[in-house]
Structures are given as C-alpha cells and as structure tokens.
Amino acid sequence: MICAFSTLNLGVMTFMGVDTRCLGLFLLCTIIGHSLEIKVNPPQDFEIVDPGLLGYLYLQWKPPVVMEIFKECTLEYELKYRNVGSDNWKTIITRNLIYKDGFDLNKGVEGKIRTHLSEQCTNGSEVKSSWTETSYWISDAGSLETRIQDMKCVYYNWQYLVCSWKPGEVIHSDTNYTMFFWYEGLHQPLQCTNYLQDNEKNVGCKLSNLESSDYKDFFICVNGSSKMEPIQSSYNVFQLQNIVKPLPPEFLHVTLENSMEIRMKWSTPGGPIPSRCYTYEVVVREDDISWESATDKNDMKLKKRTNDSEELCFFVRSKVNIYCADDGFWSEWSEEECWEGYTAPDSKIIFLLPICFFFVFLLLLLCLIVEKEEPEPTLNFHMDLNKQVYSYEETLC
C-alpha cells in the first residue's frame, strides 16, 4: 500500500494534466487491493453459562458477521479454556456454537475463542480471526477458612460412595455442612440422604444405587450454613471407576504341584466388579523371608526357595486394573493362608491311608459274605474245595 501511494504521488507529480477519472480508478484499485486481504470476525456474544450442575459449564457463542461471499461457508471455531492460574490451555476445534465440559469451580474459568475460515472458502490459506475472551467465577460468599478441608471420596467395591471431610479451619459452632451431587442422567443435583455425623454435625456422606454413574464426570458440592457468617462452598469432580477400593480376595488356597512348586489360588471378591477387571498383589512368606509378586489372574505358581521350609504363607490384595479404570485404591490385605511344614513321604502316607482303610473295609465285607455263604456252598462243593475255603478263611480273619 505504501508502494502504491508513492507510485500515486509520482504519478500525480509527473502527469499533472492526467485525467481525473484515471486517478480515481487508480485509487479504487489500491483500496480494493487492500480489502482483498481476507479477514473474518471473531464470534459474537461469547459467554460461559453455569446451569447449576456443580461444575458442568456451557461455553457458548454466536456466529460472527461475515461478508456475503462467505455466508455459505462452514465456519469452525477454535476454543481455548483453562482454570484461572493454570499454565496450560486446553484447545478444541468445533463447528457447533456450544461446548459443554466439566470444570473445577473452586477456581475461576477463562476462555478465548476465534473463528477459522477454511482454505476452500478463501481459495488460499486458512484465515483466523482475532481472539475474544471471557471468564467466569462462581459467585460465592464466605471466607476460605469456612470451607471444608481434606475431602476424600472412595467408591467401595464399585457399590458405595463414601465421601468424608473435615470442618473448615475457622467456623462457628452452629455451622453444619450439606452435600450435593450431580452426574449426567440426573435432572438436577440431589442432596445426600445418608450423612455420616460427628456430634450431630455432618462430616461425610454415603451414597449407593448410583445407576449409570461411572465413566462420566461426577460432580460434588459441599456447602454449609451458619447464622453467624456465610460458608464458602467446596467443589469436587472425579470419575467413579477411578476411585474404587475393592473387597479383598477370599477363599485362599495353597496346594502342592510337586516337591518344589506351589500353587496359590484365591477367588474373586463378591460384587459387581467383573473378575477380568482385577489385578492382584501377592506377598509370600517362606519361613522368615517374604517377597512380592503381581498378577491379573486368580492363581499363581511359585518355586519354593528351599526344600525343607517349615512354613509357607501368603496373602493377597486386589485393585481395579488399567483395562477398566485409570486409577484406584488397593483393597485391604486378605487373611493369611499357610501350608504348614511337609515332607514328600508324609504326604504320600496321608494320601494312602484312606485307600488302605477302604481296602480293609472291603476285605472285612468279603469275610462276612463268605461266612454267611459257607453253610450252603459246603453242601454242594467237593471235599477239596471245602478245605480250600476253610484254609482261606483262616488266613484272612
């Protein structure tokens, strides 16, 4: 444009008598040339809306005003958002006019958005608008010290959600807290109906029968009330499958495969967690030495360290594996199961004893039968046979 202007100056100076229409045409050309640099406006009315779902926010906007030639084009929007204070922006590109996601409402949320005009529309390279920004802070009264502390939530055996907290640092004695929760599928947030209490103050909540609540954001808000001062709310977001603490395995079993190998078995804990969703940690103790091992199966084969160990024990704990959840808590350790001192011959005897008893029983039975039958056969049999039977009896009983 600067070049065009200097050219124009030169033109004016050297061609003093040139036609004004030519001059006008020249000016028009430079203006059109300047406006051929394509621009697009940012989206309008960009705002963050809180529908009162404890952290699920709607980021929405309206399409920008565009030139006639671009009215048929599909516009895309580049949206960046983050919690205030975070270093990293999360980025998405969408053609919709709304984006919904879960946020941590303990901090503010900020977002910025711009329009993208695709290459097909501009017959050249992609054109981006400038950014338009907005932010959102939940309007909350109360000072930080009134908020609950150390909020912990555990989803026991994928069945019962227990959340517990400690009261705020500085609160009045009449303060009591209430907990609300929401996940997609519920029409609105619900209040806890089964509080855990300490001195008649709510310090936790137990929730069960949470239908279709896993694999999606679960939002919690704990607020409070007091006659003396407002209480600041505390927010939590997580996914239930990532905070599961299963029950420990049951029915532990140790068997000998051969003189040096042992097989340890256990059954999957009862409950809704599928057996293939577990991973286990086993601790084996042979006399005074312990070692750890891990497996995804319900049994484990190990080689004994020494031939003459007196005691071999193990216990096991379970956790949800990475194929079903990102994270979780280990269960409590199971009861210890031991195999106490053995030597190969002894075990064989123990095995043989019942068989011996069985044979002895059979022989006794035979004796009785033969005794009963004796009167008849002796009548029909030859003298020799009789003697034989008689001698057979003697040796047996």
């Binding site: 969408t94 996601d101 194929y323």
Partner: protein
C-alpha cells in the same frame, strides 16, 4: 440296527460335548486390551505425532460406543513429517484401525440406534485424543464384562 443306534448315540454325545465345552478365547476382550496397550504406547510418542487436532468423541451416549470408536479410527492420526520413531508410530496407528470383532449383542445393537456423526464431535489435540480413546476403551471393556 445296533450299529445305527451306537452311531446315533455317538453323534448325540458329540453335539452335547461341543455345546458344553469351554468357550473359545474372548476375542473382543483380547483386542480391546491390546488397543489400550497400543494407546499407552502412543502416549509415550505423543511429541512425535502430527499436532493437527483430531475429532475425539466425549460424553458418548449409551449404545453409541462402537460408533464413537469408529470415529476414533477414522481420525487421521499420524506421525509428524519431521518426527522420529515413524515406523513404531505407524505400526501402532495401524493396530488402532483394525476392525473390532463383533459379538451377538453388538450385532443386534447396530441396527436400532442413531448415533452422532463423527463431524459433530469436537477436535482435540493428539494428547487429549489418546486420553479420550483410552477412556472409551475402558468403558467398552467394563460393559463387555458386565
């Protein structure tokens, strides 16, 4: 007559044995677990991936999991032009694109549900794309086992 009877009994026992024999390996479960392993591997090489944003389904509705997975498969996940580890990445990406084994349940579902098109999902960074893919796979495994 007796031979016919014996033949019939043998055939009958054969069919009963076939039905009561243990099920073959769960091919769908094996594949889904393998896919999670592949995604975890790709996350290690995320800096060598092309940074172009990809459609990544989230908040997938009930019964639309397979359709959402198909959207993940369609996405143009690839290694960066100047990136290292091209062979490993291409190998892992081709693992993701293999067709999933079907089950009786999924064959029934396919016909009845109307699921969002791939275009309607927002595009995200490759890092976010892989996280969301992993979450979808975990959900599918849990559903399959329940």
């Amino acid at each position: 007559m007796e031979r016919t009877l014996i033949c019939l009994i043998v055939i009958f026992l054969g069919t009963v044995a076939h039905k009561t024999s243990p099920q073959g390996p769960d091919r769908l479960l094996i594949r889904l677990r393998h896919l999670i392993d592949s995604v975890e591997q790709l996350k290690i090489y995320v800096n060598d991936l092309d940074p172009e944003l990809l459609p990544a389904p989230q908040d997938v509705k009930e019964h639309c999991e397979r359709s959402a997975f198909a959207c993940f498969q369609k996405a143009k996940l690839k290694s960066a032009n100047t990136g290292n580890n091209k062979t490993i990445i291409n190998d892992l990406v081709s693992q993701l694109k293999r067709r999933l084994p079907t089950t009786k349940v999924t064959r029934r579902q396919k016909k009845s549900i109307k699921c969002p098109s791939c275009d309607s999902y927002e595009k995200k960074t490759p890092q976010e794309f892989l996280e969301r893919l992993k979450w979808l796979l975990q959900k599918m495994i849990h559903q399959h086992l329940s």
